[in-house]
């Protein structure tokens, strides 16, 4: 990726947008904004700046199962964004492109040690029901559970697909480490979309944002057709074994360490994942390990999705934050992209930049 030279500020109907971050949030927001507003702007220039692109982002590490947390989010809008994302992905399922996007239907099991209330998303997923006694017999450590059909959206494949769509639309990519928002503003950006995920604190301190370190093992186990996610309220979310088949490989996980920035795979974590998952699914003992990696969930009490106005020198730069999606970034990404696009639309209205397409004149 080439480093773009800073542009001089120029006005006259051109909107310059810089998206910082090339994970699922950055790329999907860029696509959403481009498709929504390119037809109604005289000129829209969207660029993506990031120091890491696929396959080195956190999105690439995620297993990709669409599933929100069990408890209701503190911000009720998040439920709506989750739903929007599911519906959007479901609508793409029927096209031949689904596999190109890394998208597929998948059914599976959520397991508990005791009865729990149904989740708020039970009517979003398909065919939600409780597990029957014979099904529970398969999992002797658990006594209650759900079965439902959901979606897999494989991070790596989806990022590649988004990159292709953005490239087709003339969106430019630039590999660079952004040291400050000011640097991007002074470079000529009218609007900055901050999709920097877990490292957003480097650009603007945010005490509510913390890394939720995860480690996963990818194995070759093509006979596994279902996801199995276990829950242990005493240990907390993602700290109990989970098995999530992707398009080709199966992701094994169960690690969540708040505040841990270590990017190195940890042997204790490896053992914990392997033993937990093999106990859950004995057939995995014969599975071959393909890779192992570490990622950092951008944990926050709620997603930061809001505007902020920056002032550097004489001009204003609009900032739209879109980060802090925890372990449910893929699950919520499209709803957040739509919301970010809506906020972008407000900026355009305020600056009176929206125009009717030529055919309406």
């Amino acid at each position: 990726m080439s480093v773009e030279p800073p542009r001089t500020a120029e006005r006259g109907g051109t909107m310059r947008v810089v998206v910082i971050g090339a994970g699922v949030i950055g790329l999907s927001t860029a696509l959403c904004i481009h498709d929504r507003y390119q037809p109604v702007l005289q000129s829209l220039d969207v660029r993506v700046y990031a120091d890491r692109f696929t396959p080195l982002t956190n999105t690439d590490v995620a297993a990709g199962l669409w599933q929100p947390y069990l408890s209701n989010p503190s911000n009720p809008q998040e439920t709506h964004w989750n739903q929007q994302t599911f519906d959007y992905l479901l609508s793409h399922l029927h096209s031949p492109n689904a596999a190109d996007m890394g998208l597929a239907l998948i059914s599976g099991y959520n397991l508990f040690h005791e009865a729990v209330p149904d989740p708020s998303w039970k009517d979003i997923v398909l065919g939600f029901r409780k597990l029957t006694p014979r099904e529970l017999d398969m999992f002797p450590d658990y006594s209650y559970g759900w079965f439902n059909t959901s979606l897999i959206l494989e991070g790596k494949r989806y990022l590649q697909w988004l990159t292709e769509r953005l490239t087709e639309r003339g969106v430019k990519f630039s590999q660079r480490k952004v040291e400050s928002l000011e640097e991007v503003a002074r470079g000529g950006a009218d609007v900055i979309i901050n999709c920097t995920g877990v490292r957003a604190g480097e650009l603007q301190p945010d005490p509510m944002l913390q890394p939720g370190r995860g480690q996963i093992i990818k194995v070759d186990a093509p006979w596994m057709k279902h996801f199995i996610v276990t829950h242990d309220p005493e240990r907390g979310i993602y700290r109990s074994p989970y098995i999530i088949p992707g398009i080709r490989e199966v992701t094994l996980g169960g690690i969540f360490q708040l505040g841990n920035w270590s990017e190195v795979n940890n042997i204790q974590d490896h053992k914990s994942i392997w033993e937990g998952c093999c106990r859950l699914e004995p057939t995995l003992k014969k599975a071959e390990i393909v890779s192992e990696c570490t990622g950092f969930r951008p944990v926050r009490p709620q997603v930061r999705l809001e505007r902020e106005r920056l002032r550097f020198g004489p001009s204003n730069t609009e900032l739209i934050h879109n980060y802090g999606h925890g372990g449910y970034g893929l699950t919520i990404h499209w709803g957040c992209a739509l919301e970010a696009a809506k906020l972008f639309g407000e900026v355009l209205e305020e600056r009176k930049l929206l125009r009717m397409p030529p055919s309406h004149l």
């Binding site: 190109d100 006979w223 057939t283």
Partner: protein, 415 residues
Amino acid sequence: MEQNGEVTKRSRGCCLNWPGSPQAYAFCFHCSPMDTVRIAVVGAGLMGLSTAVCIPTLVPRCSVTVIADKFTPDTTSDVAAGILIPHAYPGSPSFAPGPCEAIRGLADSHGIIFKEAGSSRPLRPELTLCPDTPVHKQKQWFRETFDHLFSIANSAEAGDAGVYLVSGWQIFRSMPTEEVPFWADVVLGFRKMTEAELKKFPQHVFGQAFTTLKCEGPVYLPWLEKRVKRSGGLMVPQRIEDLWELHPSFDIVVNCSGLGSRQLAGDSTIFPVRGQVLKVQAPWLKHFIRDGSGLTYIYPGTSNVTLGGTRQKGDWNLSPDAEISRDIFSRCCALEPSLHRACDIREKVGLRPSRPGIRLQKELLAQDSRRLPVVHHYGHGSGGFSMHWGTALEAARLVNECAQALGSPAPKSKL
């Protein structure tokens, strides 16, 4: 040598044991072969191998030899997708119930013999008049098969055996006569599809969702072969033209020759139903989809996805037809558009050994003074994988009955 407290003819100790396989032995002219029953299983497909595995568990002191012209991966069972969804055999509610027992009884009591037109050979009433397989039997065999494979699927052996769980949908273009089939409580989590789920299939009005098992021939058959060998069984690649070839080397013959029974058992009621399938790469598919008619289906496997299919009665042609392949692909893409991205498409053909009902029956072949007990175990049509373990257990029970009859002083076999 004492056995069960009785001193037998083998007390002279001149029978050899093969090292490491105590159940096989070299034929010795001095000794009566009564203690080790020599069993030949004809056919090395799913039925032959599973019967060969069951027999030693039920029959004390036997040797098992599997003799066939084809072994995996060249059998019919290797072509089948191996998904456990029973098809209706005659005798199930989907077919008109026949007055089986009454007619059979009537014919017997009146000494009625049926002859094929223009032939002096008597027709076998049990083959033609009342061949239905009662529903309760189908359900029993399906349940036995499902439970057996379910425990394998949940064990560390699942990968070696090629057995695993798969969920999916059976969908109908018009309301089926039976909304809840007889096997609904055997599979897992059976329920009707919701409206939201049916949206995926705009041409279909009704559907059933459930979790069942897939048992992959090319992996399961070699695993069965290993089990047969581990209990001392032998595999002999040889084409048998007549069951009498097996006399007197074997005491009991188990006929699992599928379509070969036309010749080997003189059974004209068995006929092929040709099935063509495609095996493709589409690893993102995790669910089976079966159209209620059974003609179109998508079954994801461990190393490929099976797309089907056809049901061509009386067609013996084993070569794939390109036109049919295009049609199968097009029908499956209509159900699952992402299949347009499938690659590495291979064509396969299998001839389902179809019959009005499964033949599970003892027969005592007689020629001059020679006698040869035969247990027939064939004719599963499209339901082989669904029923195989249940029928193999039953076949092994029949073999045991024959073995007991051999052991008694005045052998008197009843059919």
